[in-house]
């Protein structure tokens, strides 16, 4: 029966001949393990094609969708992480196999006459595969892919006429939708088709020439089938198992936070297999030489190898060169990796080596911190997505842009970290610390003694009990963590702490503790709310305020509520609260704060005219909310039934409001909103309102916003419902009895 069918098929297709030709090709000297690399590459490519086409079904090119769709593949789609992981790591497998395959070919002298053309086809396949890796890496549109690819395409503009090439590749002057659509078409369409075409020629030509090998007495010839096929298949299985293990261990491929064109990414590196080019660039006298000339010459040499082999010793030269190139690339890769993991341990003796050591350590530190920050941002973003979902304008505009926990550290790093640090204690290793100013070094690499103070306090936990306890500790106040690197080191506060807060008896210590609680309560920190309330009930806060007046004399300099006067020291009323902090950042030299005693703290938003200010209201608000930790907890538990009912009722009110735009849904968007300690904070705070546009947020989130009668800055739910409401309104025009 089967025989009959085979006969029938063979009569019509002649398939037996082709199958036989393929399977019963002679291998002089018999099957060998070294011949497996070619088949493995074909297998890897087929795997890429299969997994790639499946990924294609879920992937969406476009700058508001690409990251989001990959996030969904990675986190929400059944088995998506595995699929993506296989594609990601098999791509790397291909890149590892390519040089192995090439070395095998060259060592076996299989690139010379009559196989030159096939060798060249192989080089074309190499280029196509590398291009697939490059184009694919951009597709997830995360920070690492974005910046890696961006650097690569910037370099394209170097050769003459390169600007045009770059524009064509990028789809315009800047990265955007068209970059993704183009890269995707290249990655999933043009390049694979070319690769398949060239691969077909490559294999056909291989079949024409046969394998380069020699029979010998002790190694009899064999047919391709079954032993070589077995070896090939077994090698593919090993590759597959290796990839699967890596995928499972890493739970798929890494995904970073979404691309941020305006946020320089300190850990921008190409995929590891391009690292040698990256490193080469660092060693090169110019970008043009490092990125174009040297790789171009090397590639040119590879193309010329079959011709070089014709001259005497040519083959030897080729073998030596290819080894040199590979060792060189390997060395550069290792060097790049080791630079990024450089540590400050083992400081060399003073001199140029010490300077270099610290420069390297700084660079590596920045790199590692950027990476950890990106990881932290991703984790946070995941929380945000679980809590809010991904809005239609994408994760970046809809979630990242307005999130204090993500934006706070970024704004701090840009504007504050030149003096302040944000250093979490060692028992909170998950919080990525931001170092403040690095010490100046002299020509020997030794830390310079500064005549002028150049730092500012560590702001981790500012306003919390721990922070205040530290400030009022005579051991700590003159430490750089607090006033040690500022003019206040020798100021009145420091001498007060030294003189009056040392040698306290037990009773005084208890009073000081009450002062700490009372002062910290002024900050109204969300995560301290329960403690504050309990201590208020216990009378500790009032007692603390009394002790400030009577025991310690704080109000000789400071003002707190009705006691004391402004002018000589910062106002303690609402110390550390959102409003206080906002105004302090806006203008630390204001009479309410340091006045004339202000050290180097710039006024970030002292002007009425926003265009004159260093930071916008939005930025300061984000910074303040982050420093205070207002949004750290998104409300792990879903809102209570009552809250949902309330929200629904509000929405209902809105939809019934027909064309009436001035609904009085109250929106509290000032920094004060943060003092709402309930879980509803999320619904009515400006900086988070998911779909608020930039300008809207800017106008709504000022410290004064609470007095504003802004009716249009609705909570995100309402904003989202806007078009829905318009429909509802027009549908209800005929409504005879408006509510």
């Amino acid at each position: 029966m089967i025989k009959a069918f085979e006969q029938w098929l063979d009569d019509r297709t002649g398939y037996r001949k082709s199958v036989d030709e393929a399977l019963f090709e002679n291998i002089p000297g018999g099957s060998r393990w070294v011949y497996v690399t070619g088949s493995m590459l074909v297998f890897a490519f087929v795997t890429q094609a299969i997994t790639g086409i499946f990924l294609w079904m879920f992937y969406s090119a476009g700058s508001q969708n690409a990251w989001e769709s990959v996030y969904w593949i990675q986190n929400k789609m059944q088995g998506g992480w595995f699929l993506r992981g296989v594609h990601h790591y098999m791509a790397q497998g291909m890149v590892v196999l390519l040089p192995l395959h090439m070395v095998q070919v060259i060592f076996a002298k299989a690139y010379v006459k009559p196989r030159e053309i096939n060798y060249w086809l192989g080089l074309v396949l190499l280029q196509l595969t590398l291009a697939l890796g490059l184009t694919g890496y951009l597709l997830p549109w995360d920070q690492k892919g974005y910046w890696a690819t961006k650097v690569a395409t910037e370099l394209m503009s170097l050769p003459p006429g390169g600007e045009y090439i770059q524009k064509l590749v990028v789809g315009g002057g800047e990265y955007g939708h068209y970059t993704l659509t183009r890269f995707f078409a290249m990655h999933a369409g043009v390049l694979p088709i070319l690769l398949i075409g060239v691969l077909a020629l490559h294999v056909a030509m291989f079949r024409r020439h046969g394998i380069t090998a020699h029979s010998s007495a002790d190694r009899p010839d064999e047919y391709f089938w079954p032993k070589q096929v077995f070896k090939d298949a077994a090698a593919c299985l090993v590759l597959l198992i290796a990839v699967v293990i890596i995928v499972v261990r890493n739970h798929g491929a890494e995904l970073g936070p979404p691309a941020e064109p305006t946020e320089a990414y300190g850990a921008a590196r190409p995929e590891w297999y391009y690292l040698f080019l990256f490193q080469l660039l660092k060693h090169s006298p110019s970008e043009f030489i490092g990125a174009i000339v040297i790789p171009g010459v090397a590639m040119g040499f590879l193309f010329l190898m079959p011709l070089i082999a014709k001259v005497q010793y040519g083959h030897i030269v080729n073998v030596v060169t290819i080894i040199t190139l590979l060792v060189g690339a390997g060395y550069l890769t290792v060097e790049a990796l080791s630079h990024d993991s450089y540590t400050r341990d083992g400081e060399p003796a003073a001199g140029p080596a010490r300077i270099l050591h610290h420069e390297r350590a700084n660079a590596a530190e920045d790199f590692q911190r950027a990476k950890r920050t990106a990881d932290q941002e991703y984790v946070r973003l995941k929380e945000l997505i679980e809590f809010r979902g991904i809005p239609r304008d994408g994760a970046r505009a809809g979630l990242v842009y307005n999130d204090p926990e993500i934006q706070g550290p970024r704004i701090f790093t840009r504007n504050c970290a030149s003096c302040h640090s944000y250093q979490a204690p060692p028992d909170q290793p998950d919080i990525v610390s931001i170092p403040g100013r690095r010490p100046d070094r002299d020509e020997q690499g030794n830390v310079k003694e500064n005549e002028e103070p150049g730092g500012a306090p560590n702001l981790f936990g500012f306003g919390s009990r721990d922070w205040i306890r530290g400030l009022l500790d005579k051991e700590k106040i003159q430490h750089p963590e607090f006033f040690g690197d500022t003019v206040h080191k020798e100021g009145e506060m420091a001498s007060f702490v030294q003189d009056s807060l040392s040698d306290l008896d037990a009773e005084q210590k208890a009073k000081l503790e009450q002062v700490i609680k009372a002062l910290s309560a002024e900050a109204q920190l969300v995560r301290q709310a329960d403690d504050d309330a309990a201590d208020d009930d216990a009378g500790d806060l009032a007692a603390g305020r009394t002790a400030m007046a009577e025991e310690f004399g704080c109000f000789d300099c400071h003002k707190l509520r009705d006691e004391g006067d402004l002018g000589s020291a910062p106002d303690l009323t609402g110390y550390g609260s959102a409003e206080w902090l906002y105004q302090f950042i806006a203008n630390a030299g204001h009479e309410r704060f340091y006045g004339d005693n202000n050290d180097r703290m710039p006024a970030f938003a002292a002007s009425e005219d926003p265009s004159q200010n260093l930071l916008s209201q939005r930025e300061i608000t984000l910074l303040v909310r982050w420093l205070r930790g207002d949004d750290k907890d998104l409300g792990a538990t879903p809102p209570t039934t009552a809250a949902v009912a309330q929200e629904n009722a509000d929405t209902a009110k809105q939809s019934d409001a027909s064309s009436d735009t001035s609904s009085e849904t109250e929106t509290d968007t000032g920094p004060d909103a943060s003092s709402d300690t309930s879980s509803e904070t999320e619904t009515d705070t400006g900086p988070d309102a998911d779909s608020d546009t930039n300008t809207e947020t800017e106008t709504d989130t000022g410290p004064d916003a609470d007095s504003d009668t802004n009716s249009d800055a609705a909570s995100d739910t309402e904003t989202d419902a806007e078009d829905a409401n318009t429909t509802a309104a027009s549908e209800q025009d005929t409504d005879p009895t408006p509510p």
Binding site: R16, K17, D20, E21, F24, E25, N26, P28, F43, T47, I50, T51, I53, F54, F58, E68, W72, I73, K76, Q78, G79, G80, I211, P220, D221, E222, Y223, P226, K227, V229, F230, A233, A234, C236, L237, L240, V244, I385, E386, R388, G389, I390, P391, P638, V644, S655, D656, E682, T683, T717, E718, D720, A721, A724, T727, A728, E731, D735, P736, P739
Partner: protein
């Protein structure tokens, strides 16, 4: 397959020194077939699992928007107030506004469909899905009857299918789809569902 008088182009003559003439070597052949199957199937299966995702997907509203009864009872959506409807007035069309999922995008309070409401007494309302049960077009109402523009099916105001329209047979297999609803504190709440068109039985799409 056992006769190989013909050799491949590459080898002028078959293995000559061969211990290994194309005699069947079942161990290798079997092992090769099994391995070949594995390496071929794994990538494909990896894709297939994800491809089948829609069959198993259950959307869960993100934390902030989580409904009190999520996962349990059906969700009732407020459409309008009962006041807004005149008793025995013509049917009115309303959008159904609720949370929308579109793959990775979650958008609260979006129009996801529409319904016709007609108040027939003080406390009773007729609620129809506006989707035509024939093939899924959207029906309209002229105050006398519901009509579908696509293949001319028509329905009485009470939703029942008209047998024929000017002599032609009504293509709809069933009457307009009614929707579960309640009236609570003066509001009309509807459990919005879509149904598979083209069959007599009214089967909800999950």
């Amino acid at each position: 397959m056992s006769d190989h008088s013909e050799n491949s182009a590459a080898s002028a003559s078959g293995p000559t020194t061969g211990s290994n003439t194309p005699r069947r070597n079942f161990v290798f052949e079997g092992a090769t077939a099994v391995i070949g199957l594995i390496v071929g199937v794994v990538p494909f299966a990896a894709g297939l699992v994800s491809f089948l995702d829609p069959l198993f997907r259950k959307n869960k509203t993100p934390g902030k928007h989580a409904k009190a009864g999520e996962g349990g009872k059906t969700e009732m959506v407020r459409i309008c107030s009962l006041e807004a409807l005149t008793t025995n007035g013509p049917p009115q069309r309303f959008p159904v506004i609720t949370d929308q999922f579109d793959a990775w995008n979650f958008t609260p309070q979006q129009p996801i469909g529409s319904v016709y409401l007609q108040r027939i007494s003080d406390s009773e309302v007729l609620v129809f899905n506006t989707t035509c049960p024939h093939a899924g077009c959207s029906v309209s109402c002229d105050g006398q009857a519901y009509h579908c523009p696509c293949h001319n099916s028509s329905f009485e105001l009470n939703g029942s299918k008209r047998e024929s329209e000017s002599g032609r047979e009504n293509p709809s297999p069933r009457s307009l789809d009614t929707l579960e609803h309640t009236i609570e504190s003066g509001d009309v709440l509807v459990h919005y569902q879509n149904f598979y068109p083209g069959r007599e039985e009214k089967k909800p799409k999950a």
